[in-house]
Symmetry: C2
Subunit: 348 residues, 2 copies
């Protein structure tokens, strides 16, 4: 049995295909008896419009695509969740393509999505992807997240990594720490660079000396980097890690070295992944509302798509960079509060 078409529905309801279409799309007016006859027929045949045919005549797909790099588990799922919620609310669908670790890979994914989505959200921690995207996009609306945005013309969103890092380091200074070290992420990663820059700014403002160690955004690399720092003759009294995974590695290294956190060395991370509040001591870190970011990204892309469809010239208005400001979450690892809190890590 073939699937029912709009003509089958029209025939069964005793009306024309135009009326059926009007009822289903909500466009135009239909008299009440017609409407109910149509709905009845739709129900009886369990008719579902053929999305391809619809997209052919409307030249919209009602689908938006997301291109993702290889991401940490929690970040990925939170982001998708937020996007999904926003899409569902707008009657859109989400098509994802993940694990694009290099630019060429991402480019291929973008190409394969063209023609099947109304717009794209591209997460690109690679510096060169700004140009890459614009060169590939043709006239497909694109929203860049956490990327370079080299030309400043693409609509984009990004976390204020520099500012967040500065806040973290200033917080440590305000608690009396003086020898504050930084464990940075991979050099090729834009976010890693920005966080390092924020650290350097804050240290410079305080008139202190920077102490740097290189990591890879992984727990193991944080452990190794911290081990190097602890062995140096000028041992730091605080470590600001480029992300939470490395911060947890730092905590373990401190523990393994027989030192105490926060008494001997304070630690601050970045991202506020769920594990941050579960480790002991609880990790002070910068919180980002990841799901909210995802939701916001979808909303912005949709207005961009609408603008493009309307050919409106004020599209330039939307071509702004939106900044997400992370919020410092103070737990035990920074030493600000010495009270030992009981376990209360409810996780939904």
């Amino acid at each position: 049995m073939k699937a029912a078409t709009i003509r089958d529905v029209a025939e069964r309801a005793g009306v024309s295909v135009a009326s059926v279409s009007r009822v289903l799309t909500g466009a135009g007016v239909v008299a009440e008896p017609t409407r109910s006859k149509v709905l009845e027929a739709v129900e009886a045949l369990s008719y579902v419009p053929h999305s391809g045919a619809r997209s052919l005549s409307t030249s919209r797909t009602d689908v938006i695509g997301v291109i993702l790099p290889d991401l940490f588990g929690e970040f990925f799922s939170e982001l998708i969740r937020g996007m999904d919620v926003a899409c569902r609310a707008q009657g859109r669908h989400l098509i994802v393509s993940s694990s694009h670790d290099d630019a060429a890979n991402a480019a291929a994914a973008i190409r394969s999505m063209r023609g099947r989505v109304d717009g794209l959200i591209v997460l690109s921690p690679h510096l060169d992807s700004g140009e890459l995207t614009s060169s590939l996009s043709g006239r497909l609306p694109v929203l860049l997240m956490n990327g370079g945005d080299l030309d400043g013309q693409q609509p984009s969103m990004a976390v204020d990594n520099t500012g967040g890092a500065r806040v973290a380091v200033e917080h440590l200074f305000s608690l009396g720490r003086r020898r504050i070290a930084h464990v940075g992420g991979p050099t090729g990663n834009l976010e890693a660079r920005q966080r390092k820059q924020g650290y350097l700014d804050a240290v410079a403002s305080a008139g202190a000396q920077p102490m740097l160690a290189q990591g890879e955004f992984t727990q193991a690399s944080g452990f190794a980097a911290a081990a190097r720092l602890l062995a140096s003759d000028q041992r730091p009294d605080a470590i600001f890690a480029g992300n939470d995974a490395m911060a947890v590695g730092v905590l373990l290294a401190i523990q393994e070295a027989g030192l105490r956190c926060p008494e001997d060395i304070a630690v601050v991370g970045f991202d506020d992944v769920p594990i941050a509040e579960l480790v002991r001591p609880g990790l002070t870190t910068l919180h980002i509302d990841i799901a909210g970011m995802g939701r916001r990204a979808v909303e912005r892309l949709l207005t961009e798509i609408d603008d493009a469809a309307a050919n409106s010239p004020q599209a330039a208005n939307d071509a702004a960079r939106e900044i997400i400001v992370p919020r410092l979450v103070v737990r035990q690892s920074c030493g600000a509060s010495t009270s030992t809190q009981g376990f209360s890590g409810e996780r939904p």
Copy 2:
């Protein structure tokens, strides 16, 4: 500037649309000079076939849908990653819809996907979703994951929760533990029930008494449940938790109670989420190759789709239930190995 169509390409290349189509789809034969002229024109116009038009004439979308409940971060992202890899390898796309916590919600998502996907993968921890799916699916190929599969006719995949739990508990018995308790997941959850059943089986085989506590698959609930168990007059010497999140809560409760793991109480979890090897002591747990499961699910769905397209009667062959057998990963928390391992938690 409108997007180029196949006719634009044909005109520029000086050939017919049929030839262009043949080059792009790979169907039929084309002479070499024609092929290269076409590819050149495609390149010049940066032509991308209109997926809607294509799906209209081929009645395929090359997209598969995934319906997901609210999942834990790591599980979700690993699963999607595996599916995504498999899809890409087969030239398919993945459309996701997550956070469907109840059956009605999932049903709505399934309906909204009909007509825009070639098949569906439905993750449903709800007991009633087997019928739900079959009633909604019409003639859309569906693969059920971790669901009830009440009628046994749907192709499906599931983890051997019962068997895995039994292995875990038997392992504890083999280490000399005798008073083994279980912290179970929510009663409405099928997987929670199966794991509990495996625990009960193993305990019965050993002629021991079951000790049960109720949790919610969250870390906090595991903490609370363990606290209750530790306060009882017959304190257990081992706790098998229904998943890793609860197991971590159990570890914290033991620590907070001034007891030692594994010396006083051994702990075993289920799932082997990344955090399992990072907590101290390292958590002994049952490993599931989540990404592999996702990949396999896509592959099975694709063969199901092919069978449906070919109208082949041996489709019944595929309507089997495939079982994923979890593997016990022994770390420190069960007390099997007393050697303290250094930190080596490399995480890609």
